[in-house]
């Protein structure tokens, strides 16, 4: 039945209250004062003495402040106004107790800063959608055949064409594969990375050129020599000149016309660096069989089509094709483009985000325990305010405002810390971390920080506030002697919690570091130190390879050497002749390197029954020059290495690795046996040690290697072992290549050591950050234990003094204090171990060669936590033991 009145008037009041609250307050004050004065007047008129009249009036109406507060709290916008005044008060308190505030703010800033930095990465890499229109509908499609362990097999061109014409689930389907062009018309030849793609791929991604146009389906069908430049290449090589459109470029010795330039922001969702886009053209072989699996396929799902529906649809097509061509695969894998791009980084980032969350929790616990201590110091002040009429809710709100304000200031400082942290992380993040350009402190991150600040302000403030806001009014007037209260229970909880969290982090970091060390100790199967690698890709136009080499022999093998062989043979011998160079070799695909010609073939042993097609063992296929194994120091286990006599006119030979030897010949001597490769028998002349070609964490795969003189690729990776500096070796390689062919570029000159470092960059990054967070957590927890124990010693000063007066020895006092801390720590360690056992399981996907529950690591982590926290508590313990009882007891 409360009268509603006018909304306009209420709004006007709101504005007035918010902006001219001071004047309204004064008016309210004098209104009430007049009321009081008039009451007093009445009483004087009734015959009381002025003094007595005033006293009895005040007793009658109670606290004027309380009335004023009540009247104020019904006013429009009262909550906001109170918040403002609370914040002003909180600021005053913050300034008054500067040490406390500084410690709390620094602690929170560290916690929030680390969280903000990691969240920026999580947000940029995992959360933000890819920068295409309706990016959630973009998926990648592969062939799949679990029978031979192929989860994601690249797609055969004919399969792509059939999927594209027969599916019912995609708006559009596109395909692409990498190729490489030598840009050889200018004075400075350069190897360009190209993406050869169907024109439909542009449509799938919903992009168009920023200058000129993208190529058409017509041009693609006619195999026109047209290219679209990336923005970066346009700027770097052509100075961003618009006249480049329509210009002709010499790529691999052929003239290509530039038809367009892509926008600066555009990149393919696989994240690989590319210079030009060219139409996807299939070879005659590719259009007659499904043996060559070379394509990546990307599709845009129709609205409301799920990944599962799409999988079922394309699988049905694959199943129809499979019986007609066994080189195809009977199943498909469909996965979201974003998910695929970030899948290697996801678990590591989530673990880091969790870890940094723990650090924040510990920071909060520290601040909460500081607040508890301060709560008991401020008990008088709070009691006073309660006595003056502040309700409990009002007091809690005031105290919470103080803690939230602390958190907000801490968060602001945290953002500054996060910015510098991100600068550091930008230098040490793994080179294969996807979407790094998306990482930054943006609106989402700031929203996260603000939300987190308010939330943790309430979280660490609520218990101290509730405790402090329940004063006994008698506290207002007397000197408060600290006693054991619920506050000590709260502190106990905080310390054990901190110890538990620190232990979990230490355990996680320990596991990650052990795993990383194991990786480093792993035998790769070759000696990378001192080897420099470089890519040389000979254009097929000038260096034709024999097309018959990958077909069953029809006529006699040509007995002359090809141009590519001659080139590499001369390159190697000229380099080898240079002083300081120990040995030189070349291979079609270098271990741990993302470039190279890398595929597998079925292993067919001459004279053995073939397994059913599609279920044969597949082995990686490579080509190497004579001294490749020696240069890489891969051990020869049986037979012989290649020699310069393994040539076009001699017996076809191959060398296999011991993994293949074990898998296929199980104990028998493979040397002298023959494998059928490309329809041609090849004698196994040697067995070499296996290398971890696909990275540290993958076991070596079976391999078959052919001598380069008998089988050529245009692209080879040169390896040079020497004592010289990397730059000198690189210069030597460039000079020799130039002397052989001035139009021929050399690219990706890298020390093999660097490739190695790149391949463990992700675990190293995770281990490093996790280690850093664990140290931070440990420091915070130790500070927390120290703080609480110091406070406890202060509280128990009298008791300790009495004990010492009664004959307790100093060592006993110290032991008592450390003993008390030990109870906290042991309980914390037990909880922490349980938590670690549960938590580290989640990171088992990141670990290599060490179990998530590795007892040694867990025990070591527990030992570190116990020792450091007991050391922290021994400082106040010693202080207590050194105290002089008389000094403590005298004042009373």
């Amino acid at each position: 039945m409360t009268p509603r009145g006018s909304a306009v008037s209420w709004l006007a009041s709101l504005v007035r209250n918010l902006f001219r609250g001071g004047r309204r307050d004064a008016e309210l004050r004098s209104d009430i004062d007049t009321y009081v004065d008039m009451l007093v007047d009445e009483k004087i008129a009734a015959g009381l003495a002025p003094e007595a009249a005033r006293r009895s009036t005040l007793i009658e109406i109670g606290s004027v402040d309380h009335i004023k507060d009540n009247a104020r709290s019904v006013r429009a916008g009262a909550l906001l106004a109170e918040l403002g005044s609370d914040a002003r008060y909180a600021l005053r308190m913050m300034r008054r107790d500067w040490t406390f505030s500084a410690v709390a703010i620094v602690t929170l800033a560290l916690g929030i800063g680390a969280n903000t930095a990691i969240f920026s990465i999580v947000n940029g890499v995992l959360l933000k959608p890819l920068s295409y229109a309706q990016a959630d509908r973009l998926v990648l499609v592969w062939e799949r055949n679990l029978a031979i362990g192929k989860e994601r097999d690249p797609v055969a061109p004919l399969n792509y064409q059939d999927w594209r014409s027969q599916n019912t689930v995609f708006d559009e389907l596109g395909a692409y594969r990498f190729r490489s062009f030598a840009l050889d018309d200018a004075g400075d030849p350069e190897q360009l990375q190209a993406l050869s793609l169907s024109s439909s791929a542009f449509g799938v991604l919903g992009v168009s050129a920023v200058a000129g146009r993208v190529f058409t389906e017509e041009e693609e069908r006619r195999a026109d020599r047209v290219v679209v430049l990336t923005h970066a290449l346009w700027q770097r090589r052509f100075g961003g000149s618009p006249s480049v459109i329509g210009r002709s470029l010499s790529l691999n010795g052929a003239a290509y016309t530039v038809v367009g330039v892509m926008p600066a922001t555009f990149g393919f969702p696989d994240g690989n660096a590319v210079d030009v886009y060219s139409p996807l053209v299939f070879t005659a072989d590719e259009l007659t069989g499904r043996r060559s699996h070379t394509l990546s396929v990307i599709g845009r799902l129709k609205p409301d089509v799920t990944v599962d529906t799409a999988t079922a649809d394309v699988r049905a097509i694959a199943l129809r094709i499979f019986p007609t061509d066994r080189a195809s695969n009977p199943d498909v894998t469909v996965a979201g483009a974003h998910d695929v791009l970030v899948e290697d980084a996801r678990l590591g980032l989530i673990v880091l985000f969790g870890a940094v969350g723990f650090v924040l929790l510990i920071a909060c616990a520290n601040v909460a325990s500081l607040l508890l201590v301060r709560g008991s110091v401020r008990r008088r002040e709070v009691a006073m305010r309660a006595a003056l009429g502040a309700g409990r809710g009002r007091l809690v709100r005031q105290l919470l405002t103080e803690s939230v304000l602390l958190a907000i200031v801490g968060a602001a400082a945290g953002v500054v810390i996060a910015r510098s942290l991100l600068l550091v992380l930008a230098r040490i993040h793994p080179p294969n971390l996807p979407r790094v350009d998306q990482i930054g402190i943006d609106g989402t991150v700031l929203l996260f920080v603000t939300g987190a600040a308010v939330l943790i302000g309430v979280a660490f403030g609520i218990i101290p506030a509730l405790q402090a806001a329940t004063p006994r009014l008698s506290d207002a007037t007397k000197v408060v002697t600290p006693t054991y209260t619920a506050a000590s229970r709260g502190r106990f909880g905080l310390v054990t919690g901190e110890v538990a969290l620190a232990l979990m982090l230490a355990a996680g970091a320990g596991l990650m570091i052990r795993s990383f060390v194991k990786l480093q100790e792993l035998d790769l199967g070759f000696a990378p130190a001192g080897v420099v690698s470089a890519q040389v890709l000979l254009p097929a136009a000038r260096y034709p390879v024999n097309p018959a080499q990958s077909r069953p022999p029809q006529a006699a093998t040509p007995v002359s050497d090809t141009k590519p062989f001659t080139f590499f043979d001369q390159l190697e011998s000229r380099l080898r002749a240079m002083p300081g160079i120990e040995s030189v070799g070349a291979v079609s695909a270098l271990p741990l390197s993302p470039v190279g010609t890398d595929y597998d073939l079925p292993v067919i042993v001459d004279g053995k029954a073939r397994p059913r097609p599609g279920e044969e063992l597949q082995a990686d296929f490579r080509v190497a020059t004579v001294s490749y194994f020696r240069t890489m120091r891969m051990p020869l286990i049986a037979g012989r290495e290649f020699t310069e006599f393994d040539g076009p006119g001699t017996t076809p030979v191959t060398i296999i690795n011991d993994t293949l030897a074990r898998q296929i010949f199980a104990g028998e001597n493979p040397v002298g046996r023959r494998l059928i490769l490309y329809g041609r028998p090849r004698e196994i002349v040697g067995v070499v040690g296996s290398v971890r070609h696909h990275g540290f964490t993958r076991d070596p795969r079976p391999e078959m290697v052919l001598p380069y003189r008998q089988f050529q690729f245009n692209g080879m990776t040169l390896v040079v072992r020497s004592e010289m500096e990397q730059a000198a070796v690189a210069e030597a390689i460039r000079a020799v290549v130039q002397s052989l062919d001035p139009q021929q570029p050399v690219y990706r000159v890298r020390a093999v050591d660097e490739l190695l470092a790149d391949s463990v960059a992700q675990p190293r990054f995770t281990a490093m950050l996790l280690g850093g967070f664990a140290v931070l957590a440990l420091v915070l927890a130790v500070v927390g234990v120290y703080g609480v124990m110091s406070y406890t010693v202060g509280q128990r000063a009298r008791e300790i003094a009495v004990r010492m007066t009664l004959g307790a020895r100093r060592s006993e006092v110290a032991r008592m204090i450390v003993g008390q801390a030990a109870v906290y720590v042991v309980v914390g360690v037990i909880i922490g171990l349980a938590g670690a056992l549960a938590g580290t399981r989640l990171m088992s996907g990141l670990l290599f060669g060490v179990a998530a529950t590795d007892p040694a690591t867990l025990l070591a982590a527990a030992a570190v936590v116990v020792v450091t926290s007991l050391a922290a508590s021994s400082i106040p313990a010693i202080r207590a033991a050194r105290s002089t009882p008389v000094a403590v007891l005298r004042p009373e």
């Binding site: 007049t34 109406i61 309380h66 009335i67 009247a71 019904v74 006013r75």
Partner: protein
């Protein structure tokens, strides 16, 4: 009779509006007038009075200006606004209906 639940808050608002029908009054005047109108049943204390006054003022039902009291004190005098008068009529009618209904309800059981 102070602060007895929300039922009475509406009542207090109604009483304040009613007390101002004849002339503008200051705070203590309103309290005294209500006591007089209810024959001493309602003794409105400052703790309830001022929040109610400010609430009604902000809703535009009351207006106030400072003036001198008969005892020569500077005081804030409240008066009904047009909206306040209209609201008073509505509230009065409501209250009467409720009162009659309550009377019937309580009378029928006894």
């Amino acid at each position: 009779m102070e602060s007895r639940t929300d039922l009475l808050r509406g009542t207090l608002d109604l009483l304040i509006l009613r007390s101002l029908t004849t002339a503008p009054l200051h705070g203590l005047g309103i309290a005294r007038r209500i006591a007089q109108m209810t024959q001493g049943s309602f003794d409105v204390k400052a703790g309830s009075l001022f929040p109610a006054l400010y609430r009604l003022e902000e809703r535009g039902l009351l207006a106030a200006e400072w003036g001198d009291s008969d005892t020569q004190r500077r005081a804030k005098f409240y008066r009904l606004t047009r909206l306040g008068k209209k609201q008073l009529q509505v509230e009065e009618a409501n209250w009467r209906r409720v009162a009659i209904a309550m009377e019937h309800a309580l009378g029928s059981t006894s």
